[in-house]
Symmetry: C2
Subunit: 238 residues, 2 copies
């Protein structure tokens, strides 16, 4: 574990770490499709949609295509779960509305209080693969008190590519050890750690819906390991 | 005057429009130099420093040099007023502290209430020539409730070059007519208008210190013309 006493900015992952995408996307799908007579396992629909996430970004990270914003990837990724669940006949406007459901996700119950406490001492930065328009709409809807929204779009590349983590310190005039990544995903924290950032893990056992197993890192793997943003605030002394 | 009913984001100028640079820089100069025995017209020192602002940016806009952040320009610009006022013997650290005085400026008294009201309906964007680190430190110190910080640095060019104004709509997925520039400087509003943004003028008669004349645009030149952020909020119906 590294020294976190010099941390000045907290760079937060968003999908899964800050907001509950599984229940939010299940809700959006149900709102759109239940009135049309569909009765699906809505949470599974959300998980299957999310399954397209890494492959879609990997085409950008590998150079197979240029950078496109996450709103566009979300729309493209939607075709797979629609086909898998046998949903047909949606207009393009309806598909767009569903894709923008990723802007209408609720924060986990501990997030707002935890962020308000951490905001007193730290610069709170959204460092997500979300594009800026998505992150802004989500923040205003859910009351997320970001000091700054960065992430994939300003550098036109997706995490865990190193330039995304580097950009937080570069834009803020801080060294990597002055920035800590907050995330529930080991792949994200490992990417940040490789660039010299500090790593603060938050468990989100219900990310893929209640009772669905997710990867658990070994105790002590990250600089702090917590169960909520409130516990994180406490461990940071705020 | 153009229709402002479709405005969704307000892009704010910062130096002069949102914060009072003249009194803040006069204070920083006095804090540093009075204990060393200097007794200057502190406000005039601030104004002379600010006089270097457009020429310094013009070297970037013209292509004579690549983009450098405003913190660096502020430091470079400082040498002229120091020489003019006969100040010598400052260490480089002291000059840096003075240059970062542009991060420690107070909002005008109407700003926080006005922004809090406008934030309910609009996306509040800092669209300044300040770099991001400067804007973040100023916002946290002064309580400026930005939804988003953009401006010169993400596009590596200075206002009134068009790409800075364009970038607000591009990052937010909005058309130019969905964005309004809020500024006290005609050159800034004219730059925004040329790119299709709406223009909201706020008078700041004390920008250069009490009683110093500044450029007054003709009535009706901009879409709204107001005396404060509170009057602006009222005219926007929030």
């Amino acid at each position: 574990m590294a020294d976190i006493s010099e941390v000045k900015a907290l760079a937060f992952d968003v999908f899964g770490t800050t907001v509950d995408w599984c229940s939010g996307i299940a809700r959006a799908a149900r709102e759109m499709l239940a009135p049309k007579g569909y009765s699906l396992d809505w949470a599974r629909f959300a998980v299957q949609w999310r399954r397209e996430y890494q492959p879609a970004m990997e085409r950008v990270r590998s150079g197979a295509r240029g950078y496109v914003v996450m709103d566009v990837l979300h729309r493209e990724m939607l075709d797979a779960p629609l086909k898998e669940f046998g949903v047909s006949g949606l207009s393009e406007d309806e598909k767009q509305w569903l894709a923008l459901g990723w802007r209408r996700l609720d924060p986990w119950p501990d997030v707002i209080e935890g962020m308000q406490r951490m905001k007193r001492r730290f610069i709170l930065v959204a460092c997500s693969n979300a594009n800026i328009a998505l992150a802004v709409e989500m923040a205003k809807r859910g009351g997320l008190p970001w000091d700054l929204i960065l992430g994939a779009e300003p550098v036109r590349m997706y995490k865990p590519r190193g330039e995304v983590y580097d950009s937080v310190g570069q834009f803020l005039g801080l060294k990597p050890e002055n920035v800590a990544m907050v995330a529930c995903h080991p792949w994200d924290l490992d990417g940040a750690k490789a660039r010299g950032l500090r790593t603060l893990y938050v468990r989100r056992p219900d990310e893929f819906g209640p009772g669905v197993a997710s990867e658990k890192p070994a105790p002590g793997k990250y600089d702090l390991m917590t169960d909520s943003f409130i516990e994180l605030a406490e461990k940071l002394g705020v």
